[in-house]
């Protein structure tokens, strides 16, 4: 993967996600950071991105609204969106996947969790 956008209002959360991705081997990837959904949407509209990782609870624009915008845009509809949230349970995960999220993970995350979730995307990138 060449470019990943990480949207979370917490710098600590963005750092943890970035570190987990580096541990699972994404060392050559460029990470673009956004503090809310609006900033993330601007970033994914501006350039080709391979993956969007977003929190749910964010000020200005939340992750659910960001997901709706991405999946409603013909140019962005194929962009995989991974939601990483503290406010998720099975019901919320099902709802987000039905809305088009690639996957949903609960905080706290670790490299093993991210590696499992991203395995299909990483394999298809290798092909």
């Amino acid at each position: 993967m060449k470019k990943i956008v990480i949207a979370d209002d917490s710098g600590t959360a963005r750092m943890m996600i970035k570190r987990c991705l580096e541990i699972i081997g994404l060392t050559e990837t460029e990470f673009l950071e956004a503090e809310n959904g609006k900033e993330a949407l601007t970033l994914v509209k501006q350039q080709p991105v391979d993956l969007l990782i977003s929190d749910l609870n964010m000020p200005v624009m939340d992750g659910e609204t960001l997901l709706k915008w991405v999946k409603a845009s013909p140019k962005l509809i194929d962009l995989p969106v991974l939601i990483i949230t503290s406010a998720g349970n099975q019901a919320k995960s099902d709802q987000l996947v039905n809305m088009g999220a690639f996957a949903v993970a609960n905080k706290p995350i670790n490299p093993a969790i991210l590696s499992n979730i991203l395995a299909p995307l990483l394999e298809s990138n290798e092909d």
Partner: protein, 162 residues
Amino acid sequence: MEELKSLVHSKVTETLEETLENMAFISIEECSKEEASELEQDFLGVNLLVTEPALFEIHLNISKELLFQLAENMYAMDRDELDEQLIKDLLAEILNTSAGLFMTAILPPEKHFTLGLPELTDGISNNNDDAELKFYYIAEDCPLTVEIMAADTDSLKSLFNN
């Protein structure tokens, strides 16, 4: 009240433990109010509102010293490189993560819940030593406290009956 206190205490301990071990490889121990106050350290506080399925607030206070230790571990940075903003952001993320784990632990999987955004306070958050649902911990010789405040304890209690 004692039954509710014991249930909440056990879930708070479990979720705070999981959060801190996962984020910074630091473990916590339960302690008494007296043991925590003997350590006399400066605190930073944060609170977060749970709005659904019941309305209540969670307050987390962590000693500044412990926050610096956590940040040193997580960011692999020296203390003089760490600023107050980073420490506050870390505190907010600890509460955000713990609160989500707490709600997931007490509710059935099909039940929705909604969390507000963490709000930092200048010093200690809700310094009420006589609160019924206030729990004390020690990590790396530093104190931390969690308090849960509900306007209506019956609605909080009902969450544990799911």
